[in-house]
Symmetry: C2
Subunit: 725 residues, 2 copies
Amino acid sequence: MSADHSTWHPAWLPEAAFGPVGSRRVLVAPGPDAGPVGRTVVDELRTATAQHGGTLTVLDPSAELPDGAIVRAHDLVLLVAPRAGRAAPTSGGRVHPSSSTNAPLVALATDGVLDGTSGPEIGTDAFLRIRQDGRSVVVAGGAAGLLYGLHAVVRDGERAFGTDHGPQHDLPVAPVRMLDHWDNVDVHPVMGQVERGYAGGSLFYDAGEVRDDLTRVGAYARLLGSIGVNAVALNNVNVHATEARLLTDGLGDVARLADAFRPHGVRAYLSVSFASPMALGGLATADPLDADVQRWWAQAADRVWAAVPDFGGFLVKADSEGQPGPFAYGRDHADGANLLARAVAPHGGTVFWRAFVYDHQQDWRDRRTDRARAAHDHFTPLDGRFDTNVVLQVKHGPLDFQTREAVSPVLAAMPRTRVAVELQVTQEYTGQQQHVCYLGPSWSEILRFGLAEDGTRTVAQIVSGLPGSPASGPPDADPLPAAGVVAVSNVGDDVFWTGHPLAQANLYAFGRLAWDPDADPVALLDEWVDLTFPGADPRVRSTLHALMDDSWRTYEAYTAPLGVGFMVDPLRGHYGPNVDGYEYSRWGTYHFADRDGIGVDRTRATGTGFTGQYAAPWRDLYEDVATCPDELLLFFHHVPWEHRLHSGTTVVQHVYDSRADAVDVVERLRQHWADAADVFPADWHARVGERLDEQLRSAVEWRDQVRTYVYRKSGVPDAQGRPIY
Amino acid sequence: MSADHSTWHPAWLPEAAFGPVGSRRVLVAPGPDAGPVGRTVVDELRTATAQHGGTLTVLDPSAELPDGAIVRAHDLVLLVAPRAGRAAPTSGGRVHPSSSTNAPLVALATDGVLDGTSGPEIGTDAFLRIRQDGRSVVVAGGAAGLLYGLHAVVRDGERAFGTDHGPQHDLPVAPVRMLDHWDNVDVHPVMGQVERGYAGGSLFYDAGEVRDDLTRVGAYARLLGSIGVNAVALNNVNVHATEARLLTDGLGDVARLADAFRPHGVRAYLSVSFASPMALGGLATADPLDADVQRWWAQAADRVWAAVPDFGGFLVKADSEGQPGPFAYGRDHADGANLLARAVAPHGGTVFWRAFVYDHQQDWRDRRTDRARAAHDHFTPLDGRFDTNVVLQVKHGPLDFQTREAVSPVLAAMPRTRVAVELQVTQEYTGQQQHVCYLGPSWSEILRFGLAEDGTRTVAQIVSGLPGSPASGPPDADPLPAAGVVAVSNVGDDVFWTGHPLAQANLYAFGRLAWDPDADPVALLDEWVDLTFPGADPRVRSTLHALMDDSWRTYEAYTAPLGVGFMVDPLRGHYGPNVDGYEYSRWGTYHFADRDGIGVDRTRATGTGFTGQYAAPWRDLYEDVATCPDELLLFFHHVPWEHRLHSGTTVVQHVYDSRADAVDVVERLRQHWADAADVFPADWHARVGERLDEQLRSAVEWRDQVRTYVYRKSGVPDAQGRPIY
């Protein structure tokens, strides 16, 4: 097979993926409020039908309603549902699609099964699907829903035209499905063009400026729109000098970027520096209670929304890792967030305020300070004080995107605050897009993790407005708007977008899980495979499942053991092993291994007390070494090397076994991949092959360093007698 | 006190240091071959006498000889001795200093004690001093000797004008006294403008070009001339693309730099890339046996010497740490070095070929490969094959400028090869000019270390042409020219030249020990103090002795213990502690600590066999753990934590004690310095004070990390019960 792209890979939207739709007779009625997103749907369908031999009928809101026979002559009908409160005008027995409703068309297309009055219930982001009399119908609640509905049909391929079925409501669980770009305008001397970017340069910026040609940004926006992502933050949360000016001098460029995202239903946000009133406005302070500061932000917001009327809002990392914030003025995070929230409120804007705040100048000698406690300690006292257009953005774990962490207790601890959970699609700690690490299973576990005694209050529920969330209302307070799921993007200007081609699946799965956290991550892989390689040899699917299904657990098995985290190399930007790499550092990320044992005592009884930040049952389950899950044992407890796991083996032998076994897995997968060269595009196969070579090299290094380190400390020989150095 | 400088500090040549000379009646007769160095001597004296109220009489070679009374009316007479084989013409009872001799003047000035025929015996670099009838006389063998003689008088200050004494011959032990600058023309993305530079930018280069204004280079050359340094290599031994072109396009700039050094007796050398014929000449190979390559180098040398007739030669790092070399063509280092040597021989040039060659892609799992062995393994088979204008430049230890290493066995193992020893004035591993670390005592130990059974064959003897050196002739071969002492410079464009003001003393001591390896390093400190702070309060001297005399051993005592080396932080360019920082790396620098013990087994019996590279007695003394010196124990042996040292304490307790004690020392010195604020210039005191703060912070970190690391591994408590973490 040869590649079907030139400048960049089509990812999961190759032309062939549109074959089942494009070869059919399609009718689309985007309705009176189609806007740019509706036009995108029409354009997609026009291209697809032209390429695949189908036909397209576009019903303009001002056109007459076609008669029933004509409507029923289509295989696929996509339309926006009527808005509430407007009657459908009729004229001489023929129904005109008015400027306000497609209601009669809904009834026509569904043989009356749907009556066309259900629009408001659908939701503007959502859609109904029905297959009736051999005709597939998508009834969307709005233009975005129409786009998502189209892609749902594309994803289903021929299955979308199978047996009839009744109405199926498909809707995202949360309004916020956002990707944060840690892209720098200027190349940062240490962090490069994209902080924690492993896929080349920025899609947005090059050598200190916003790119002239944003064609590829449009292609990226199209990918995001197809998986339901509806927001992007355009620049790094660490806001350096040039990037800060996006808020002022750079607004023209921001508008150009927003223009590229808009047709795909994606709104633009900016990361801003809390010190902007000083750095950009020349004020002597950035104190959130200072009237001049408040005025400056209000005027800044006015200018932003004047340039980009549908602008989303601001993302802020404040008083964290050296970024400025309200602490300098004796104010707290609520003061800081509300300052910005009030500036953007008149425009309908939202402030995403990160909860990633901790002492990053920690003394490694001090075992009482626990970075894991920090976000909870800082923010829970402020619950109820944040304005309703503030979303507190909480990393999924209490540390920093480790391969395995406990779920952050902050998510469940702020019932009067809108919270979003932050995931990391870019593989900072999970192989940096050199290693295969399909993160769908990890995110699925996180999103479905129930923080309450009865297993409810899952992360997805809390952040998405489902029962148990601030959006459903705590016992003594009004409901708040829902928030959702945010993640750090993994794309760059690499031809495959993501460096490692298989990392495309992480971007795909993020969007799909943010839409539906209950989706089976392995089934999402099937979707992704079918879209990316339409009509391919079945070995494509089986090979990719073999490589990817368990890849996260395999990665975990050769890296830091049992939830202890880190052990990564500071010299190489967190890539590769360095067991003591962060052991004597200021970052608060230690494992405390000595000749007797390893792990961080976070119990209330003898440790940092972090377990007390959880509600039951977790506060007790994690507290007790007998009930703490194996995979988080060293996150919560310092145990002897010969402590016996629930699995029956000892900690030390587990380290030896799992690291050795995992490398064996990688070796087999590398061979598996080599054997499948005939069924993959040559460039794709070559790139993945190179990465697997590096993954094996790196995994061997992880295995040998971790095993040797543990042996040198513990003195316990490997029961299997494998080499230790 | 206030500072007496504006743009840069005068170091050890403040105006006041010339007071004792400048206030006197001085007569100078630089002789017929004075050249630019002779003119420098006259200029120095003219300035000094003008500033301090003395008088200066300059005897031009063409002038008539003054009568004896006039000569004897001077307090200080400096002159160049007659050259051999030329009679002194006389005329009517008055002796004219001819164009070829000052012989009659010598006799006049010394009341006939010296007869003026001793020039050739003095040596062009050397001088005789005599004090006769209250008159101090310097009789130099050449212009350089005159310069060095002047500075010897300046150094002695009023003592130079004390009681009479007979002739004293002062001569350098070796012809080569060289400073290598690891300066980059272009700022290197990792290494900066000066690789391992801790004193700001380069004196020579700025932002990709040779500086327009070389005034300060002249001031630097003056400092070097005053301590006898007579050669500089102008660019980094790691020759990057821009720097390679100094050899071709950059010759105009090289000539300008050479012009700045020439008046002070310092010849310029270039570091060159072995791949130059390809990179610069467009050839397809750099094979040393290829005729086109040989021709290219010969023509390159012709161009260099055409631009700089007194150019010194080339410095080469080949087949080391990624630099190109002869291995690519199946040739060896002798082939490579001789290629260049034959190109420069017609011009009297010399090639300095570094012996720092080792496997820098070592596998940490492999305990058989020993980086310490590498130079000996590579080079000793080539002994006798290097041309006589090749100098093999050997680092003082077998590893890499560690605070404590065994002396390199290579120095004594190549009797048919000219060898120079390479020291490191820049404090890469010795505190990076943040810590006080006076290296004179270390260099003194190295230079005076006897490699033969009877304690002879000292390093100084071997490299300097004294008995036991190639220059004195091995049993079965002709004597070779002597070589000498080379070091990596520690200066930059910092106002104090060296970042840490006290590091000026290292540069000073290097020059003085290269001249006289038997000089007492503490006495050299007195010289340096007297020059730098002429007439200062006695507390200046006592304070500086307190801070500096034992500073190298103090630094050793809180860093890597007992000769094991490294334990430095790769992330911070070798600064600060990271016990396992190089333990699992490719650099071949390990300590192999485990719960049972620590150290590198380099014995013949059970280790890498490195001890076998030494002659007796060292091969046996180092081999036996019972006779190995404590300070090198872990360099040669892997021993249990509770192994008892000759000092009576155990290894583990030694680690605990010496690190804690050394920090106590630093704390006391910091207080000592604070108490001496009134006797130092304010800027000097402030800068040293800042550095002492940092030294204390860093020393505490070293103490705590090394102690804690050792405790976590060994489990042995500190007998003193001090905190471990």
